[in-house]
Amino acid sequence: MAHPFHTPFFAVFRTEVLLNSRRVAPYLMALLCGGNALLWWARGPASGRGLATNSEAFIAGVLPIYSFMTLPLFTAVIMADPVIRDYRADIGPLIFSKPVGRAIYLLGKFFGSFFVLACGQAAFVITLFVLQWFSRPGVTQLPEVKVVPYLKHFLVFVVISHLVLAAIYFAVGTLTRNAKIVYALGVCFYPLIICYNLFFLNGLPSFWQHILDPLVMRWGQRKGSNVHTLSAEAFNSLVVKYDAELIINRAGMLLIAAGILTLVYRRFIIGEPPQKVHFSFLNLSPASERISFEPVSNWIEDDREARRTPVPLPSVSSDNSGIRASFRKLSAALAAEFRLLLAERSLVAIIPIAVLLSTMEVIFWPARGDGSYSAAYVTNIAGNSLLFMIGISIFYIGEALQRDRDLNIESLVWSQPISNFVLLFSKFLATLFLVCILLVSVGLIAVLTQTLKGNWPVELTTYLRVYFWILIPNAIFLSAAATFLKVLLRDRYFAYTAAIGIGIGLFYMYSQGYNGRVYNPLLFRLWKVEDLVGGNNLSQIAQHRVYVLTVALVCLALSHLFYQRRSR
């Protein structure tokens, strides 16, 4: 019998671990998880209440919540592309020309990636474990050092939950060969799990709630044994025992994971998946390329081809100089950008989610009756859509500017007689258009909701004022700033990281009271609907908007200047 370390499974597993160890995501996840543990230890729910941070109840209590928080996103990132990566690098055929079966390959890929994921997740419990040797005022710890509870509860509350999630993401990524769908699923996880809990689990009897709770977040809140009602002493001495419901739940999750992996095994094909010749609406993605064979009739017979006289090309007039020609080329580039944008599969998921989350509050919660209803509605959607405006501007500009490189069309486009302004502005305008679609959709839904709820009068001018003075200039600024950042840093991931970093830094400053207009280009928390009616406040806002649009213009001008048609 072969040594376990010399089997094809271990070879695939080891290589997968090695490949993942070269990525940033596992380290970032471990860092965040470790930091999270430190935060929960020092200033978490146990702090100042006499609850020991190394008590079994604390460990078992925090792990399901920890499992829910950011981990699903990392699970999506790590489990999306183990197989896609091989096919992208064209290494799939090389692997399958060796005596490696589909099952071995898929299991090696899955468990290799899952092992890395679990190692990253383990940073949380490892940090908590190490912190047993440290003390801090307000933090209570039991004198005896615990080892087994960390391991045991981590496996039960985190690893098994994420095994199912990982299996789902792995299955979707492997079978569709499209990582973007998995990322979209990762983003959708939160609304889905919240809806599942609110609309499905809440209506079930307690037994079924515990059986069907995938993240076992309800398990600690059992009838009559809620840990929150226990004294510190009782809490610290609590011994956590797994009851039948939990064991059934976990066993069920393991079975589901096994079922999903079996499905992947049955559906996975070694070659490129067969695809229809024509795209369906949901099958649109610039990243998907297929090979088809030209019908024989195209070339008919070779001798006929040889006799074919060359088709003369007509003489055409061309205009490549002057502003008019540039604008005509811009309109051509813009038309192509719109076509590509419409073919962007992620939009099918992201825009509806963004619209839904931006309008959820006005749909489900009663609007305040004081003052104008329209003002309350538009203020609410303006605030809630801000995050999506920022996200869409940054990521879609990044992707649009990177697309030509990814599709290897850069050299064809760059060798055309067009100025940088045409290349950049078309992508800027397409992204701005996308953000405007989001804003208009959100606005229309708000107006409709207000009408249906009977919160009269519907003051359209109030909406228009907010859009004119606040939202549209913000959208222009965000798209221009994102363009500049991408052009300056060239690498899209650097640009994303820088943009997120700058955004977090600025919003942190605003939350600390440093909220000057000069460095608050979005006028975050600096406007009210009443300010937009007229008077001194409006003139200050108007000045600020001119300032913001000027900055946007400067960003675009600098982008034009720094943009280099630099060949690889």
Binding site: S288, S411, Q416, R565
Partner: protein, 290 residues
């Protein structure tokens, strides 16, 4: 017509890709032949305005291609070695897009041009197909169609037949031969010798960033006339032959070695028969010299 003078390019990695290349390219099909890594693509990218040389000039019809990039792009058609298209656009939409970027704004004119191009490259029936579904040969033909927009004075075609099957290669050769127009330069870069011998009236050989020969293929063959010999030998027989004459190529065949040598003065041995020289022989004779 196309005058390249003292072109130098060193990459940041320290690779000296072009070492003072000078070349006069007359109108017609011009082949640039060289092994992988010789500097062909670097030279093509510089001519296509996608790469900045460290020094040197490139002039075409009184236009400096290095300093006046916009004008250069107006007279340029470029088919790179590796390229892609937007897979969700159809063949027709793709050509319309590139025609508009090339300044063909009149809708009727553009439509007739696109129709003619699609017919020329035999893609009329695939005009409404999304490019993402094209085979390698179809994509290559669409590539040449976009390069022909605006009747370019300089058509740069970089390794166009690499990866194509023999049938598709023959079609592509026909297509290139058809596209050649008087007063225009078609610069074909390749490492496939038969591409040059089939198509080009003039050629240059580049090796390690230097032009080691520039002539017409017929002249090259003439230079080796009556001096190329072929024989099938055992391995042991090759060594003495090497000392007597220059070995051009050797190839395993049925356990023996089929060798081609150059010998101008006398027959290299009893086993040798005289053969008609090819461009490949000329290429190998130069490469082994240098």
């Amino acid at each position: 017509m196309l005058a390249i003078e003292g072109l130098n390019k060193t990459y940041q990695s320290g690779v000296h890709a072009l070492k003072g290349i000078s070349l006069d390219v007359p109108p017609g099909m011009f082949g640039l032949l060289g092994p992988n890594g010789a500097g062909k693509t670097t030279l093509m990218k510089i001519l296509a305005t996608l790469l900045e040389p460290d020094s040197g000039t490139v002039r075409m019809r009184d236009t400096d291609l290095i300093s006046d990039k916009h004008r250069a792009r107006m007279m340029l058609g470029y088919l790179p070695q590796d390229f892609g298209f937007y897979p969700t656009l159809t063949a027709e939409q793709t050509l319309h897009y590139f025609a508009r970027l090339k300044g063909v704004h009149d809708r009727k004119e553009r439509q007739s041009l696109v129709n003619a191009l699609l017919e020329r490259v035999n893609l009329e029936s695939a005009r409404k197909q999304k490019v993402g579904g094209f085979s390698g040969g179809m994509r290559q033909r669409l590539g040449i169609a976009q390069a022909l927009i605006g009747k370019p004075a300089l058509l740069i075609v970089d390794e166009p037949t690499a990866g194509l099957d023999p049938e598709e290669r023959a079609r592509f050769h026909n297509l290139l031969a058809e596209t050649f127009a008087e007063e225009s330069v078609v610069l074909l870069s390749t490492h496939i010798v038969s591409d040059v011998s089939n198509l080009c009236s003039n050629m240059a050989i580049i090796r390690q960033g230097e032009i080691i020969a520039s002539c017409a293929p017929s002249e090259a063959i003439k230079e080796l006339s009556d001096s190329v010999w072929e024989a099938t030998l055992t391995r042991a027989q090759i060594e003495p032959v090497k000392s007597r004459c220059k070995l051009l190529s050797s190839q395993m065949y049925n356990g023996m070695m089929r060798v081609r040598v150059v010998s101008r003065s006398e027959r290299p041995g009893e086993e040798f028969t005289q053969v008609t020289p090819t461009i490949e022989d000329y290429y190998f004779s130069l490469v082994s010299q240098s």
